[in-house]
């Protein structure tokens, strides 16, 4: 009974904390804009299958390259598909892939970083060397290699993106762990005879969580950039999946005539990336973490 009450209280506190952070973020103009854009995109992605006016893969020679009109709000592309339908469904692809990718990146990057920071010594040295080496392979080359050897399905793309964008989180988590590891409460937990697992779970994670989450939020926008670049180059999701990068690369050749089919996905992708970026910045500021001097590695 007692412990029930305690956990209940803790959960409520967490919920209140989240609300408070959201409020701090929304009170700044840039945070408000970022949150609004992000929420708009998420709602649109959730509702898009129900509000899409046409079938996203319906090809028709009669409706090729039509200019925007009442029937086709954003016009049609070179295969006669409705650009509005494909644009709103494109957000669904982008958000799903990058959200799960970021989750994987946060999990493995955060845990490995905390582990290295805690254990230190030889293991830490070796792991950080390998992470450094991975960091120095341009992401695009590594991703292209994996995707070209394993295929371009979302089952390959999500773990591959998660893996490559997680290596930077390892460093952040490790540095944050280093900052707390010498503090008294860790020393006393050790003195109480707690295991490494218990120290990680109860002492370190609550203290490094903020830093890792902020890093993850930033990485979400870089991952979206990477994912759409891959699609643009023809190594992302395969057609006819509605995807912004793919739409831009397909419509690019005809943009001197049918500029609408390239503008719509550009607006969609740019606004989502800017939304995530502003939100991540506001999130960092609300948590009191300064990342203005960090390089995008």
């Amino acid at each position: 009974m007692q412990s029930d009450l305690a956990t209940n209280n803790k959960q409520k506190n967490n919920f209140e904390k989240v609300l408070e952070i959201l409020k701090t973020m929304a009170l700044k103009p840039s945070g408000f804009i970022g949150l609004s854009i992000l929420i708009f995109h998420i709602l649109l992605a959730l509702m898009s299958p129900y509000i899409a006016p046409y079938d996203y893969k319906a090809i028709s020679p009669n409706t090729m390259l039509l200019a925007p009109s009442a029937e086709h709000w954003f016009g049609t592309d070179s295969l006669g598909r409705d650009v509005f339908t494909r644009t709103i469904l494109g957000g669904r692809t982008a958000l799903t892939v990058t959200f799960f990718g970021s989750l994987i990146a946060l999990l493995w990057g955060g845990l490995l970083g905390i582990f290295c920071g805690l254990v230190g010594g030889k293991i830490d040295d070796v792991v950080m060397r390998v992470v450094d080496a991975f960091l120095s392979i341009p992401w695009i080359l590594a991703m292209l290699l994996i995707v070209s050897l394993l295929g371009t399905s979302t089952q390959v793309l999500i773990p591959a993106l998660g893996f490559f964008y997680g290596k930077g989180i390892v460093r952040v988590a490790r540095a944050a762990t280093h900052d707390v590891i010498a503090k008294d409460f860790i020393v006393s937990a050790r003195a109480r005879g707690h295991s490494n697992m218990s120290i990680i779970w109860n002492e370190i994670i609550p203290n490094v969580r903020d830093a890792i989450l902020v890093e993850g939020a930033m990485r979400w926008s870089w991952m979206l950039l990477g994912f759409s670049s891959l699609s643009f180059l023809g190594f992302g999701v395969s057609p006819p999946t509605p995807d912004w990068g793919l739409m831009i690369s397909n419509a690019r050749g005809l943009m001197s005539f049918a500029y609408w089919s390239v503008i719509a996905p550009i607006v969609g992708l740019s606004s989502l990336i800017i939304g995530i970026n502003l939100t991540a910045d506001a999130f960092a500021k609300a948590l009191g973490i300064d990342r203005s001097t960090k390089a995008p590695v």
Binding site: P138, L145, L149
Partner: protein, 318 residues
């Protein structure tokens, strides 16, 4: 000091060694080898045998790695599968073209970034800062392929000022290159400048708030003298490292930009060799791009060391 420099060079070499292992093991572990991947459906009979013989896939893999690594150290990357010529001959002109593109972008980008960064920091939260900062945030968040596509759409198609794509052979002369690279340079230096200007801005703001600058203000040092004598030298120093990381990070973006503008550089070679499933070239590119990354970082570390006497006695841990 000398020891520290040697140690940094050593760490860079170890990193490159691990990169070479990763690319080699990666290709070994992932399904298919260089020959079956390249030949695809024709991977049987004499064609496969000949390919295996040529690449020496019939000898044990550790032996093959050692041979390959020894050749790479000597500057020989082996044979390209698709072009059937030495990889060095494929790489040569591409490296030159990318170097021209990158150095012109950097030469424009760095001074511009420093000026913009200083302006935004000195007029912090005033109109110049708000305008420039909004533009920089936009240009650094939007993917390279979007800004490049928009540049082509607006400058080349709607205004008709410049050609939209580069149509030159990979062995074009320097002058042919220069007249064709305006739009690619704008696309790359826009993003690079934005990143670096943000770094310079926050660095200058930090230094402006420091005690010695406050002291200089109280002593009555003239404003501009204070900016140039006290603020800038201290603010630009920490920015060097970040600038290096940014340049190295942009290698990936250069690949995309080269593809959009059809520019015959290393970036397009990455895409071409992967589309052709030419794994030996991909391995060579991985090593070269990683060396550039490690090299830029090393130079930045050394420059920071040289310029900052306080760091000489310290061990720099990143």
């Amino acid at each position: 000091m000398l020891l520290l420099i040697l140690k940094r060079i050593g760490l860079g070499l170890i990193t490159l060694f691990i990169v070479s292992l990763i690319t080699f093991v990666g290709v070994e572990v992932l399904p298919g080898d260089a020959c079956t991947t390249y030949l695809e459906r024709e991977a049987y009979g004499p064609a496969l045998d000949a390919c295996i013989k040529r690449l020496g896939l019939d000898i044990p893999s550790y032996q093959r790695y050692l041979d390959w690594a020894a050749n790479v150290v000597r500057g020989d990357f082996g044979y390209s599968l698709s072009g059937e010529m030495p990889i060095n001959e494929v790489l040569g002109p591409r490296v030159k073209n990318s170097l021209v593109l990158a150095s012109v972008s950097i030469l424009i980008g760095i001074p511009l970034a420093i000026v913009l960064g200083i302006i935004t920091a000195l007029w912090r939260d005033k109109l110049p800062d708000i305008i420039i900062s909004t533009i920089t945030i936009f240009s650094m968040t939007i993917p390279e392929f979007i800004s490049a596509t928009l540049l082509i759409l607006i400058v080349a198609i709607w205004l008709g000022w410049l050609p939209g794509i580069v149509i030159i052979p990979s062995d074009a002369t320097f002058y042919e290159l220069l007249s064709n690279i305006i739009l690619p340079v704008v696309a790359i230096s826009m993003i690079m400048t934005a990143h670096m200007a943000r770094m310079v801005r926050s660095s200058v703001i930090q230094v402006m708030a420091s005690d010695y600058v406050q002291m200089a203000i109280l002593k009555g040092v003239p404003y501009w003298k204070m900016v140039f004598r006290h603020v800038l030298p201290n603010a630009l120093l920490p920015a060097i490292n970040v600038v290096a990381l940014t340049i190295a990070w942009l290698l990936g973006g250069v690949v995309v930009t080269e593809v959009v503008f059809n520019y015959p550089g290393l970036g397009r070679l990455v895409i071409e060799s992967i589309s052709n499933r030419d794994l030996p070239v991909v391995q060579a590119l991985a090593i070269i791009l990683a060396s550039i990354y490690v090299g830029i970082n090393l130079i930045a570390d050394l420059m920071t060391l040289m310029l900052n006497p306080r760091l000489k006695s310290l061990q720099i841990k990143k």
